[in-house]
């Protein structure tokens, strides 16, 4: 039975084996920390693991945050005033004993009311069987107070509770959180695993998706190629302007259309910008293929104009913007400043 559930999980065989072994030996740590890049399957693995303990995988799978219905609930809540969100903390629980706490609100953070709810629910016994599994999807999205309020529960969970946390980088977490959980680091998938995954899911435009996803099946599936194309066009224009290939005016029309898309977040552009900068670095060093192989001519044009120092400064600038995201900076102004600063170099 154990094999069956985890069979369809691609990559990270060592972690899968560890979890399987825990269930087989009935020696299950009560707090687990699954860490790794976006889309490698941290939450998926947590759900499969939960399903092995609790049964009814079909119910637990309904709480997959990437499902359209769940994404819609979360997007809708962004528009709520924060009071309303605090009164009605976000969690999913299609299976009565599997509860998922996702980051909430426009800034996608785990809030104190959510943690309070978690603690309140934690003390109640399972509906059936011996276990309840709580998944905190993105503990790195909890601010310090929210994270601190969890410490006691992490240290002494009620006897029926298994608490699984996920984080992209475990070293972003408070050491007190990290030290209270059994760490299970997940890595990016090998090319072979990714191809097997793409075949199993029958992905369209698989080659392009795999190049962009970089070993992350979740990203490969979720990638909206059309939106990606649009964002890439804008970000390429930004890089051409920032590197001095085009005059500043060439950027203006993109800036306007980005500003007009109010619901689109700056991170979605910055993620593309990172990939493009990586490709510029590949192009300057003659590494093939590029992740955006189909945009080679544009990338090559930028690559010919820039030095390694310029690239390093550009990446540092994007990092800075990423940090500022949580302060709700203005999208087009931030990108204008990016281009202007780099042109000056």
């Amino acid at each position: 039975m154990v094999r069956w559930e985890l069979e369809n999980f691609f990559g990270n065989a060592a972690v899968v084996e560890t979890l399987t072994e825990m269930i087989r030996g009935q020696r299950i740590p009560q707090t687990l920390l699954l860490s790794g890049p976006e889309g490698v399957g941290k939450a998926t693995l947590a759900r499969r693991f939960g399903a092995l303990l609790l049964g009814h995988p079909e119910r637990i799978e309904q709480d997959d945050l990437s499902l359209e219905s769940n994404a819609a609930i979360m997007a809708d809540r962004e528009k709520w005033p924060s009071d309303k969100r605090n009164e009605d903390p976000l969690f999913f629980s299609s299976h009565p004993d599997f509860v998922t706490f996702p980051p909430d609100g426009p800034l996608r953070q785990l809030t104190i009311p959510q943690m309070r709810l978690l603690k309140e629910r934690a003390s109640l016994k399972p509906l059936s069987g011996a276990w309840r599994v709580f998944l905190i999807d993105g503990i790195d999205r909890a601010n310090e107070q929210a994270a601190n309020s969890l410490l006691k529960t992490l240290e002494e969970p009620p006897p029926h509770l298994i608490l699984i946390m996920t984080a992209r980088n475990p070293f972003d977490l408070l050491p007190t959180i990290r030290s209270r959980a059994v760490p299970l680091p997940l890595g990016r998938l090998t090319e072979g695993d990714m191809r097997a995954f793409a075949r199993a899911r029958a992905l369209d435009e698989a080659e392009r998706r795999l190049r962009l996803a970089e070993g992350s099946p979740g990203v490969a599936v979720a990638l909206d190629l059309e939106a990606y194309g649009r964002r890439r066009e804008a970000m390429l224009a930004l890089l051409r302007v920032a590197s001095g290939v085009d005059p500043f005016g060439a950027w203006m029309k993109h800036a306007d259309s980005i500003a007009a898309r109010r619901t689109e977040k700056l991170d979605s552009y910055l993620d593309v910008l990172y990939i493009l900068l990586e490709d510029v670095l590949r192009a300057t060093n003659g590494i093939a293929p590029l992740r955006n192989e189909d945009a080679r001519t544009h990338i090559q044009a930028v690559a010919e104009r820039v030095s390694f120092d310029w690239l390093r400064a550009a990446v540092a600038r994007v990092d800075e913007l990423m940090d500022l995201l949580r302060r709700n900076i203005q999208k087009s102004l931030a990108l204008d400043a990016f281009a202007a600063a780099l042109r000056a170099r």
Binding site: L124, K125, L127, K152, P158, P159
Partner: protein, 371 residues
């Protein structure tokens, strides 16, 4: 599924489920009530995964089956219908058609498949009059802790033992324990469980709607507690953890005691506590010759003192207490007089009703404050 039911019955039973139906939006199925029609009854079930309530009422069932309907929307609508029969029909696409006289409505429901399966009630452990249960809850529920981190204290301990029933609640600063008087039917073995506060509140609601002598069948399994009152079943998940050893907290003996008029004491404390520190709510209780004095002062706002006549001859003693804790008890207890038992400023004090009915007991222990 198709059935006809009287509007009054439907409104009454739906009302009971409202406290349990999840108002939150993230799990839509939980805002729905499960309606099952079979034989000559319909059964309504609601749950928020913590508590569940199942009630039923007579109906003329034309076609048996089950479906779920948004509970609040259904109640809000049915309440506005005129007195009479309501016809409900749930189609295969989960839409519910509701017809009453010349009114017709369609409400979007959901498949029953995603509605959580609730456990079945196991063998009955005790049969208790609902009035007794409600009274015991009323006398303990206020002492439950509000601190979410002390999860074993966020409910009351229910103890079944031969011939009796006890309920204990504490927040670590005070403890309320009540034992039922009289024989409780059906108890054959000792049983202990932690009952969450929310379940206690719902039980009180059930009691409000019932004859106090009506019998609640109580039962429990590994993870749940069940209370069945007639056709209504309330079930709750148990709280986990070890409740403190309350018997060790209860003082074996006090040095002294004094009888006081309950109303006088309550009024005095309420007045005086206006001048106590807002956080600590500390007041001083001084038992002296022939009177009990209640005093509090906050140096920069003012001070207040009240005195109640009492028959007391011993050495004077002054003890600090949290005024709110005392008032909580004085509001919950019945009877004209209460007894205040104490030893010294460093020992717990105790309040009890002076006269207890039919062998029951009610004890309330408060830790003293250093002032």
């Amino acid at each position: 599924m198709e059935f006809t039911v009287s509007r009054a019955d439907l409104v009454r039973e739906l009302n009971l489920s409202q406290g349990v139906v999840e108002k939150k939006t993230t799990i839509p199925i939980l805002s729905n009530v499960l309606v099952e029609a079979e034989g000559d009854r319909i059964v309504l079930t609601a749950t928020d995964l913590e508590l569940g309530i199942r009630c039923s009422c007579p109906a003329r069932v034309k076609k048996a089956g089950a479906g779920t309907i948004p509970a609040k929307r259904l109640l809000d609508y049915v309440r506005l219908l005129p007195e009479g029969d309501v016809q409900v029909k749930i189609a295969d696409n989960h839409w519910a058609n509701i017809t009453c006289g010349r009114s017709k409505t369609r409400i979007a429901g959901m498949s029953r498949d995603s509605f959580p399966e609730l456990p079945e009630m196991p063998a009955v452990l005790a049969e208790i009059p609902i009035g007794v249960v409600a009274q015991m809850i009323g006398k303990t529920v206020f002492a439950i802790s509000n601190e979410e981190s002390r999860f074993t204290l966020s409910g009351a301990l229910l103890v079944l033992r031969k011939g009796g029933l006890a309920m204990v609640a504490t927040d670590g600063h005070r403890l309320a324990m009540v034992e039922s008087g009289g024989e409780i039917a059906g108890i054959t073995a000792a049983y202990r469980a932690l009952l969450p506060r929310k379940a206690m509140m719902e039980l009180q609601k059930l009691a409000n709607d019932a004859d106090p002598a009506a019998i609640v069948q109580f039962s429990g399994d590994e993870n749940h507690l069940f209370f069945k009152l007639g056709d209504r079943l309330l079930l709750s998940r148990k709280l986990t953890g070890n409740f403190p050893d309350y018997e060790r907290v209860l003082p074996k003996e006090h040095g002294a005691s004094v009888g006081l008029n309950r109303e006088d004491l309550r009024a005095a404390i309420e007045r005086v506590s206006q001048f106590s520190d807002e956080r600590s709510r500390a007041i001083r209780v001084r038992v002296g010759d022939g009177e009990v004095k209640v005093h509090s002062s906050v140096s920069d706002t003012g001070e207040s003192e009240d005195s109640i006549p009492a028959e007391y001859k011993g050495a004077p003693v002054e003890i600090g207490f949290n005024a709110q804790y005392m008032v909580d008890f004085l509001r919950a207890v019945d009877g004209e007089t209460i007894t205040f038992l104490f030893k010294d400023p460093h020992s717990a004090g105790e309040l009890q009703p002076t006269a207890t009915d039919k062998g029951g007991s009610y004890r309330y222990v408060i830790m003293p404050m250093r002032i």
